[in-house]
Symmetry: C2
Subunit: 203 residues, 2 copies
DNA sequence: TTCGTAAAAGCAAATTATTTGCATTAATGG
DNA sequence: CCATTAATGCAAATAATTTGCTTTTACGAA
């Protein structure tokens, strides 16, 4: 799957006018280079220091770009970090094949819960949700849904039944995310319960 | 139920040291007055202008307080807005009695979904989740859970069965919140489905 | 290819927000 | 009522953000 990593963001004058995310604005050389450089600088800084200490001038300095470029393209730190986070939240592989639909879903959900409830995971989710633009959050949700679709298709290809994808989102993904966001840590046993409950509703 | 509205926040020097929310720091007259005045100013400004245009100096001006007071007590705008939001998210009444556990839950869940998916609702949730302190999010979750507990207790007092509160959180509250956060709007029909599904698991 | 156009980036001055040290006020506990 | 100290006020110093203007450079048409 070819994934365009280039997202350009058109930005204008006053604060209320901003954040109109227009993609493919000028994918040519320099724009893309600046985008990549800024993203990398942001990622690196997030790894080196507290999220609260990262500022736009810092990122700009590390990226070799003037701060005003970042302000004009992304608007503010929150939008930039959301943009960086959503890219990092993109799954980098297909869900592993564990032999059956239930085993696939169980393995995927356990890994998902673990990754998302980790320190960096929580921060990325927070960054995505804190942005004014709901588009990033949507994208995240889509990534997750896509993973479930792959598992569901695989199960059906095996001739097995598998619950509707929306049902899995409601009954497995949503409870895991809710607990992570609202302060709890979903343990593996609970995740397995969620999975076996939804699997018993298949077909 | 007596609810202390006074939350004091102890704050110190550098950014990474901040946001240590200590309650009951000095609930005496002036502190409480400043707290109330700042909260009211923030609420009013949020009603008058875009969230992105609200700043600490603005709030301070309207509250008749110096900005540094706000910086020292809350740390930054995000924490202050989270504090304001969590107060507004506190339920102001018991869930209405609709005659049965299922009807109670249905009525409550529909209202919850509607309020939370509204513009102001979404903003409050975002503000709460965006704060570095997970404490606010916890509190919100607790408010919701408390409402479910009331409904459950009422059902049991009627001699009826009612699903476990955690199950309701997982199967009704979490899916509603997930959809709101990740870009969807949960319609009434879907909410009713969630409720009837969980009610069929009662006992 | 070259050229015209306009988007994106750089730069620097102006504005605004944030931090900080110190002085003052006023809760709290004896 | 007094001593103590948290909380606030004030103002100077620092840092972030905005903005007007210039320069660079992608992109498309000739």
């Amino acid at each position: 799957m070819v994934l365009s990593k280039i997202l350009n963001h058109g930005v204008r004058g006053r604060k209320s006018d901003r954040m109109a995310v227009k993609e493919n604005l000028r994918p040519g050389g320099r724009s893309a280079r600046v985008q990549a450089s800024v993203h990398k600088a942001a990622r690196d800084l997030l790894g080196e220091m507290n999220r609260a200490e990262v500022t736009i001038p810092l990122i700009a300095g590390k990226a070799g770009v003037t701060p005003s470029t970042i302000y004009r393209r992304w608007g503010d730190l929150q939008e930039l970090l959301a943009d960086v986070a959503v890219e990092r939240l993109r799954p980098d592989m297909q869900p592993i094949d564990a032999g059956s639909g239930k085993a696939d879903l169980e393995a995927w959900a356990e890994q998902y819960a673990e990754e998302m409830s980790s320190g960096p995971g929580r921060e990325m989710i927070r960054d995505v949700l804190a942005a004014q633009t709901g588009a990033n959050a949507c994208k995240c949700c889509e990534y997750t849904r896509q993973q479930i679709v792959v598992i569901a298709d695989r199960a059906k290809a095996r001739g097995a039944t598998f619950p509707d994808v929306d049902l899995v989102m409601d009954q497995v993904v949503a409870p895991i995310m809710y607990r992570i966001l609202f302060g709890d840590v979903p343990d593996a046993a609970r995740v397995r319960d969620l999975v076996s409950r939804v699997m018993s509703m298949a077909g």
